[in-house]
């Protein structure tokens, strides 16, 4: 049986969520319809909205359901940028970091290329921590030009955590909206939609819900421009028939995940620490990418100098162990990680990476199985070299 250690890519839905979905799918009625079946599904949707809001310390009206994290990030980046330049054309600077997920980087680059936006990528330390002193200086000198600051809560490759409260503290006096992509953080570390934060992206399938549902939390005082018109649903920010089944599933998965977090977090860190220590012993040249910086407990990202990530991935797959390199493009090509490049690593270093991500059912035996294969896999991958 496959040992699955790629839960950060996607993880299995909770059985309770699956059962609930099967049940919900049989309930006829568009949540926007005024008849009784419609109202029944509307009730399911709105109770899901309330549940999710409660889990995140948000107001129910701040939850905008989307098709996933990527859509949420796109609405945040483009919607806030457009709203800012509409109010003041000289507010056209977006501030972010190149360690962000492509769902943030790509819309920013699209705005730069097609809409005349400016971007400032903040410096990142070699452990992946964003330079918030630089952000402070930037807000002081060019604060009146900044349309939006977007920084992720936890990095999806390295797991390193950014102090988002501090980011909001820096941005607030200058009236700059802050968006955070919390897709990798939600359910893995304590997060909340605290006052002052303008927007936050989350996704269901990372917390034991289904693929195809996510949400953008949008503070009551924010009015991002809508990317998708038609029907006026979700505060007019995201038109389209509302997915009551998905929203309900998301809320249930979120509730279970967050409740487990409080009790299981310590155990997960324990497993992670054992993994990191053992890798260091077995392959002394390997480097734990985030070093001693704070991070989420379910992600361990390593670089293996002289190896190509795709060789290691192939060899582990042969042993029925599923991991990832942390970065994949549409064609399934394992390329040098843009996150590690942003952290100042060379292309060679950024090519030899592995991301081990733990799930709720990951046992120490799974980690042991990976560790048992690692030395041989590393030896062969080293022999195969970086490219040939």
């Amino acid at each position: 049986m496959t040992i699955y250690l790629d839960h950060a890519a996607t993880t299995a839905p909770y059985p309770a969520v699956v059962e609930q979905m099967v049940d919900d799918l049989q309930k006829l009625g568009n949540p926007s319809s005024v008849h009784s079946p419609g109202q029944q599904n509307r009730a399911i949707l709105e109770s899901a909205r309330e549940d999710l809001a409660r889990v995140l310390g948000a107001d129910r009206n701040e939850i905008v359901f989307t098709s996933g994290g990527t859509e949420a990030d796109n609405i945040a980046i483009k919607g806030f940028y457009w709203a800012a330049v509409e109010a003041n054309p000289s507010r056209n600077l977006i501030v972010s970091a190149y360690t962000e997920h492509h769902a943030v980087i790509d819309p920013i680059e699209w705005l730069v290329e097609h809409q005349g936006a400016n971007v400032h990528w903040l410096e990142v330390s070699e452990s992946g921590v964003v330079n918030l002193q630089e952000l402070t200086n930037l807000v002081e000198t060019r604060g009146d030009q900044i349309a939006l600051i977007s920084l992720m809560w936890a990095n999806n490759e390295t797991g390193v955590i950014t102090d988002i409260r501090k980011v909001v503290e820096i941005a607030k006096p200058a009236g700059i909206p802050v968006h955070t992509d919390a897709v990798a953080a939600f359910g893995h570390t304590e997060i909340s939609f605290f006052p002052g934060l303008s927007a936050m992206s989350i996704s269901a399938h990372k917390v034991g819900g289904p693929v195809g549902v996510g949400a953008l939390l949008v503070s009551r005082d924010s009015n991002p421009v809508s990317l998708q018109q038609g029907g006026g649903q979700e505060r007019g920010i995201r038109g389209g028939t509302m997915n009551s089944v998905g929203a309900h599933a998301f809320a249930t998965a979120a509730r279970i995940s967050v409740s487990k977090l409080a009790t299981e977090s310590w155990g997960r860190f324990d497993l992670l620490n054992r993994l990191v220590e053992s890798v260091a012993k077995l392959v002394p040249s390997a480097k734990f990418s985030r070093g001693s910086e704070p991070g989420i407990p379910d992600l361990a990202h390593f670089t293996f100098p002289g190896c190509s990530g795709d060789s290691m991935l192939y060899l582990l797959d042969q042993e029925d162990i599923a991991v990832s390199t942390g970065s994949a493009c549409t064609a399934g090509v394992t390329r040098a990680s843009h996150v590690l490049i942003a952290m100042g690593r060379s292309v060679e270093e950024a090519t030899g990476t592995l991301r081990i991500s733990l799930g709720r059912d990951t046992k120490s035996q799974d980690i042991e199985a990976f560790l048992e294969k690692l030395p041989r896999v590393h030896e062969l991958a080293l022999k195969a070299g970086l490219n040939g």
Binding site: D310, S311, L313, Y314, L315, D317, Q318, T330, A331, G332, V333, T334, R335, V347, L380, A381, K383, A384, G385, N387, G388
Partner: protein, 369 residues
């Protein structure tokens, strides 16, 4: 055997993978990502470098029930094939990037990686066969002569031949392969053949080179050194080219002029009558033997030489002289350019190959052209 099949997403490598599976090998498919900025959909007659091609390959692998991976060789490809192509043109030579790719990527980088990772061989969808004679492996032309690709495989050494299989090499024709793909239910059965250079998106080699190399004015001369016109860069010309010379003054005999020689150091292009394109001798120092080397190559031997992928083989006397392979052609051939690869055949067997450095014209310069 544990076999890694290089799957471009085309019909040939797809059927090759299917046959390797059927032959009982333990097969894994790999698609080589050769471009940093792959297009989304296939255009024109390029056939390996888009995401669509990669997806096609993956779909075939799914249908065959084999594992599939995409490996990134784009850095290596850029360095060893694309940059080499540009540098060769800059040096006034006409390179063959497909051969370079076989020599440096498919049967070198990929093969080394595959062997290191525990594979016994790599398989490709080339039309050629490997045969064993007297304990030695030999590369032979495919029976599908119209599609024979032994020319572009001429760079393989005996060691490499030990680790390659060409599952469709014995096929009678491309149509058979398409029919087989159709019967196997592979959607790539009707996918068009690829002809163009894969890394030049619109097939406009000259425009692409102009972009990479830039332009600089130089002279067009006749064989006696008389300046006839100017041009915007010698890389825009290839030996044998007739069009685009823009010489206003006609030749004395009124016949068209052809590019005979490119002198990149002085940025000069030499032109002359078509007869002067006839080449009697070719030679080159960069050579390799395919399979076991001939016993005494210093002694001239009879063979056939082919200078382009789809050219006719020409009878020649071949000899190793002072580290150079020299081929004296029985009948002069037209339009041979330095940089091209000459593959040496003994009947259907590929004996070796060399890159042409120098040519000797069959007809010396006229007094007045």
């Amino acid at each position: 055997m544990k076999v890694l099949v290089a799957m471009s997403g085309g019909v040939d490598s797809s059927v090759a993978a299917a046959r390797a599976v059927e032959a009982g090998h333990e097969v894994v498919g790999v698609h080589l990502a050769l471009s940093r900025n792959s297009g989304t959909l296939r255009t024109g007659s390029r056939g390996c470098c888009t995401i669509e091609d990669s997806m096609d390959a993956q779909r075939v692998a799914n249908l065959l029930g084999i594992k599939f991976f995409v490996w990134d060789f784009s850095e290596r490809f850029k360095h060893d094939v694309v940059d080499d192509f540009i540098n060769e043109y800059k040096s006034g030579r006409t390179p063959n990037p497909c051969m370079r790719c076989n020599e440096r990527i498919k049967f070198a980088a990929l093969m080394e990686k595959a062997l290191s990772l525990g594979f016994d061989a790599i398989a490709t969808g080339h039309y050629a066969t490997v045969e064993e004679h007297d304990g030695h492996l030999e590369l032979h032309r495919s029976p599908a002569l119209a599609k024979d690709q032994s020319y572009v495989l001429g760079v393989l050494t005996e060691e490499q031949l030990k680790h390659v299989i060409f599952p469709i090499g014995v096929s009678a024709s491309k149509n058979d392969i398409r029919e087989e793909a159709r019967q196997r239910g592979l959607a790539v059965a009707q996918k068009p053949d690829s002809y163009d250079i894969c890394f030049i998106p619109d097939g406009d080699t000259q425009g692409w080179l102009e972009d990479k190399v830039g332009s600089s004015e130089g002279e067009i001369l006749d064989r006696n050194g008389k300046v006839l016109a100017t041009h915007s860069g010698s890389h825009n010309f290839t030996v044998g080219q007739r069009k685009g010379l823009h010489i206003e003054q006609p030749a004395k005999d009124g016949r068209p002029r052809y590019v005979l020689e490119i002198r990149p150091k002085t940025n000069q292009v030499v032109v002359g009558p078509q007869d002067a394109l006839a080449i009697a001798e070719i030679s080159g120092s960069r050579f390799s033997w395919c399979g076991v080397a001939p016993g005494s190559p210093e002694v001239a031997f009879e063979a056939e030489v082919q200078v382009r992928a789809h050219a006719e083989p020409e009878r020649a006397m071949v000899q190793l002289v002072d580290g150079n392979i020299l081929a004296k052609l029985e009948t002069p051939i037209l339009g041979v350019a330095p940089g091209q690869t000459a593959v040496i055949y003994l009947g259907s067997r590929v004996l070796g190959q060399f890159t042409i450095d120098a040519t000797v014209s069959a007809i010396p310069a006229g007094v007045d052209e």
